[in-house]
Symmetry: C2
Subunit: 229 residues, 2 copies
DNA sequence: TCAATAAGTGTTAATATTACATTTATTTGC
DNA sequence: GCAAATAAATGTAATATTAACACTTATTGA
């Protein structure tokens, strides 16, 4: 019977990735300079087409790997964009994913191939198609995620100082936080392990390094809580 | 150049709708009995294919209208499902939408055509394909939505009692709420207009009827807040 | 040794949330 | 017409959470 399966309604399905990173100062997004038409030379999110035998998640992973050389990147599906003329070449629906990676772990060469660059959110250029909206939604989602699940594991080096973690939250939420209150709240989440080691780079006194307690972190990420910052 | 636009990768894109309603007791979902293969005779979400010249939102509206006879239904895109073999007939990706409607306003005839039925969430049957997962995600999203934007306008009659509103929240959140605290919190949102009229059906004393203040309601819906219940 | 720098640390006040019980208005049955 | 029954309406006190706030400590280098 195959009711409704009309070949004419078939569409291209693309995946576009909003890749976030953190350089200890700003929250950044990785953008590529398109080297093909349409919109050649303009800034864009990294994307690609869904292939016959892969899921959207597979496609997103593949696309992320292509640009960063990294596997097992944290990512989350965001939203599917479907304006009829959003892509001038052919009817294409695009499902956006946001990913968060450790900015130091990506493969520089690959990034250079794509003429990709990290941009602070406040300095990101205008993007092609509806990519600006994709980015906007991703930022909102990321901000909201801070209140229902811990964040940072994917964005920070293995060992980090409390101040680095605070700067990360400040960058994501785009607001300043009180040092003492922040520490108290993070501690009450009980996801950090305080090391004996100190980081001496930022002060003469040195500051203790922390690691995430993987198990507790994963648990909090799965079983949502509520954190007000 | 049309890099990457390979005809072979084109897919069918479907939209499936999770339609919520409220009968003053339970939160319900509207399901249809499939009268076509595959899975003929089984319960399913109402769905359809994205057509050439419409957006996903358009498609969802069209599908909702087909089943309920209603226009301008509140709805929200949820998630796109893309397991390779999720649909046994052809590679089909499905974007799910959840909608909330006033259960008394739908068109009974249309519903009968589809052998559709309202099910309390706790009594919903198993659904075809990945529709159980779609429903699960929709419930979670609806629950979360209660804490960031007001709810009820789409689910209640124009005039309603405070108790009805409370029952609605209790049904959505699946937990009992304290009457006085509930009233205080709802009042602090400042989205209701208290009428002089009373509803006499539920008690001898009668209880005041309320309406939503459309403007304030819309404002709260747009500019999120946080409501803890 | 002192000046400079960032780290580390607790308490109090304000606000928000929860728990909780009595009175009121009206109808109906005696 | 009075009593009983029913659900509505209402406020306060206790507890928990959040926000505001400033001084001491360790260390380096001038």
């Amino acid at each position: 019977m195959n009711r409704g399966y009309n070949q004419a309604d078939k569409v291209f399905l693309a995946v576009d990735c909003i890749i976030f990173g953190f350089d200890n100062e700003d929250l950044k997004v990785l953008l590529i300079k398109r080297d093909f038409e349409p919109e050649k030379g303009k800034w864009s999110l990294m994307g690609g087409f869904l292939k016959k035998d892969e899921t959207l998640n597979d496609a997103a992973s593949r696309i992320l790997f292509k640009l960063t050389g990294m596997h097992n990147i944290y990512m989350e599906q965001l939203y599917s964009f479907s304006e009829v003329n959003r892509d001038p070449v052919a009817r294409t629906i695009s499902t956006s994913y946001y990913a968060i990676i450790n900015i130091e772990k990506h493969n520089e060469e690959l990034i250079a191939n794509y003429e990709a660059k990290w941009f602070s959110l406040s300095k990101a250029p205008h993007l092609i198609f509806d990519h600006d909206e994709m980015l906007g939604r991703a930022i909102r989602r990321l901000r909201r995620r801070t209140s229902i699940s811990p964040i940072g594991f994917e964005l920070l080096p293995e060992k980090f100082t409390m101040r680095q973690l605070q700067k990360l939250y400040e960058a994501i939420l785009d607001k300043e936080l009180d040092k003492r209150n922040f520490i108290n709240k993070i501690n009450s989440m009980d996801i950090l392990i305080k090391l004996k080691e100190k980081d001496m780079s930022s002060s003469t006194k040195g500051s203790y390094l922390f690691m995430f307690d993987q198990e507790k972190y994963d648990d909090k990420q799965t079983n949502n809580f509520y954190l007000k910052l």
